[in-house]
C-alpha cells in the first residue's frame, strides 16, 4: 500500500497557508476601511487607508479568480 505522505504534507501546508493568508489580508482590508471612516469623521484625508483597503481586496479577488481557474478544468487544459 502506498501513501503519498509528501503530497499530503503539501496539501496541509498549501491549504493552511492560503487560508490564513487570505483571511489575514481580508481582515487588514476591513481594518483599513474602518480607519478610512474614522479619518473622514475627523476631517482628515483618507487616501492612505483607502489605497490600503483596495490593495488588500484586490489581492483577495485575485485569489478567488485563481480558485475559479482551479475549479474549471477548461481553463487549465
Amino acid at each position: 500500500m502506498h501513501i503519498d505522505w509528501a503530497a499530503l504534507g503539501q496539501v496541509a501546508v498549501v491549504s493552511i497557508g492560503v487560508a490564513v493568508a487570505v483571511v489575514v489580508i481580508f481582515s487588514f482590508g476591513i481594518l483599513a476601511l474602518s480607519h478610512r471612516d474614522t479619518d473622514i469623521d475627523r476631517g482628515n484625508t483618507a487616501t492612505v487607508a483607502l489605497t490600503g483597503a483596495l490593495l488588500c481586496f484586490t489581492a483577495c479577488a485575485a485569489t478567488v479568480v485563481y480558485g475559479i481557474y482551479l475549479i474549471v478544468p477548461q481553463l487549465h487544459h
Partner: protein, 377 residues
C-alpha cells in the same frame, strides 16, 4: 441505445435519486455558515448553491469515468450490484438527514458499493488498500487540516479587527463569506455530480449501450446536474442547522475564516489528486472557527455524534448495500422487491421528519434535533 433493459432504467433512476439526496445532504457544506451568520437569507443561499452545483456539473466530467476512483473493481460491477450499492447509500443518507447529522455522501456511496460488491462479486472486487489510502486517510487528515487552518485564521481575524468599528467589520466579513461559500458550491458541483455521472455511464457500458471508456453522454451530464442542483435547492435544513448553529456559534469573521479554510483545503487537495469529502472538511473548519474564537463555545457532544456518524457511514451503507445485493442479484423479482422496500423506507423516514420539520423559516432556531426528535416520537 437499442437494448436498454428495464433494470438499466431502474439503476439510472436510482442513481439520480442518490444524486438528489447527495445535493440536499451537502447544501450545508457550502451554505450553513452563511445562513447562520445572516450573510445570506436561507432561500437565497440554497438557490445560489443549487445553481452553482448545476453549473459545476457541466464544467467537469474528468473523474466521471471511474465509478469510485478504483475502490471497487468496476469491471465486475453488474447493474444489479450498482443498484444495491445505490440503495445502501440513499437509505443511509436519508437516515442521517433525519437526525440532522452531516455525514459524507461519498462515503455512503463507496460503502454501499463495497457492501454490494462483496456479496455480489466476492471480496476480490474490492481494493482494500485503496479504501485505506483514498477514504480512511483523507477522512482523518482533511478535517484536521481544515480545522487547524480555520483556528489560526479565526484567531488572527479577531486579533486584527478587534479595535476597529465593529459594524463595518461584521458587514465586510459577511460579504466575503458570500464569495467563499459560492466557491465551495461550485467545487462541490464539479466533484459530486460526477459520481452519479460515473455510475450511470458505467451502467450503460455494462449493459452494452455505450462503448467501454466512453465519456458520459450529454443527457447524463444534464440529468445528473439537475438532480444534484434540485436537491441542493430543496435544502437539507436539518443538517444546515447542525452545521451552522449547533456545532458552535458562528459570527461573520468565523464564518469567513471557516469558508476560506474549506475552500483552500478542497481546491488544493483536488489539484493534487486527493478525493475527499466536503462534509468532513467543512465540519473541521466550523469546529476550528469555534476553537479560534472561544474554546468553550464548541459543543463537543454534537461533534462527537457527528464523528460517530462518520465512522458508521461506510460500514452501515455497506451493510445495507450487502443485504440489497443479496436479494437484487437473484433476478428481476429481487430488484423489484428491493426497489419497493427502498421507496417504502424513504416515505417512512420522510413521514417521521414531518413530525418536527426544519425549514428555511426555523433553521436558525437552536434546539437539539435529537432531543426534539425524541419529544416528537
Amino acid at each position: 441505445m437499442a437494448h436498454i433493459s428495464v433494470l438499466v432504467i431502474v439503476v439510472i433512476i436510482t442513481a439520480l435519486a442518490f444524486d438528489f439526496t447527495n445535493g440536499f445532504h451537502d447544501t450545508a457544506n457550502a451554505m450553513a455558515t452563511s445562513i447562520a451568520t445572516g450573510a445570506l437569507r436561507p432561500k437565497v443561499a440554497v438557490l445560489i448553491s443549487g445553481v452553482l452545483n448545476l453549473v459545476g456539473a457541466f464544467l467537469s466530467t474528468k473523474v466521471a469515468q471511474t465509478i469510485s476512483s478504483g475502490i471497487v473493481n468496476d469491471r465486475l460491477a453488474t447493474p444489479a450490484i450498482i443498484f444495491a450499492g445505490l440503495v445502501g447509500a440513499i437509505l443511509w443518507n436519508l437516515l442521517t438527514w433525519l437526525f440532522g447529522l452531516p455525514s459524507s455522501s461519498s462515503h455512503a456511496l463507496f460503502g454501499g458499493l463495497i457492501g454490494a460488491m462483496w456479496v455480489g462479486a466476492g471480496i476480490n472486487g474490492i481494493h482494500f488498500d485503496q479504501v485505506i489510502s483514498k477514504i480512511l486517510l483523507p477522512a482523518i487528515a482533511s478535517p484536521l487540516i481544515a480545522g487547524v487552518a480555520a483556528t489560526i485564521a479565526t484567531y488572527l481575524a479577531y486579533r486584527i479587527t478587534h479595535r476597529a468599528n465593529q459594524e463595518p467589520v461584521t458587514s465586510g466579513f459577511r460579504h466575503g463569506q458570500t464569495v467563499s461559500a459560492s466557491l465551495v458550491s461550485l467545487a462541490h458541483g464539479t466533484n459530486d455530480a460526477q459520481k452519479t455521472m460515473g455510475v450511470i455511464t458505467l451502467t450503460l457500458i455494462a449493459a452494452g449501450a455505450l462503448a467501454a471508456g466512453s465519456a458520459p453522454p450529454y443527457w447524463v451530464i444534464a440529468t445528473a446536474g439537475l438532480a444534484i442542483g434540485l436537491g441542493t435547492y430543496i435544502g437539507g435544513w436539518r443538517i444546515i442547522r447542525t452545521m451552522g448553529n449547533r456545532l458552535t456559534d458562528i459570527a461573520p469573521p468565523q464564518g469567513f475564516a471557516a469558508e476560506s479554510s474549506s475552500t483552500a483545503v478542497i481546491l488544493s487537495s483536488a489539484n493534487l489528486g486527493f478525493a475527499l469529502s466536503t462534509t468532513h472538511v467543512v465540519a473541521g473548519s466550523v469546529l476550528g472557527s469555534g476553537l479560534g474564537h472561544r474554546l468553550a463555545q464548541v459543543r463537543w457532544s454534537v461533534a462527537g455524534q457527528m464523528a460517530l456518524a462518520w465512522l458508521l457511514t461506510l460500514p452501515a451503507a455497506a451493510a445495507v448495500g450487502a443485504v440489497a445485493a443479496a436479494v437484487a442479484t437473484r433476478g428481476t423479482a429481487g430488484v423489484v422487491l428491493i426497489g419497493l422496500a427502498t421507496i417504502a423506507a424513504a416515505v417512512a423516514l420522510y413521514a417521521i421528519s414531518r413530525r418536527e420539520p426544519v425549514t428555511a423559516g426555523n433553521v436558525n432556531d437552536i434546539r437539539p434535533v435529537v432531543e426534539a426528535f425524541s419529544t416528537a416520537t
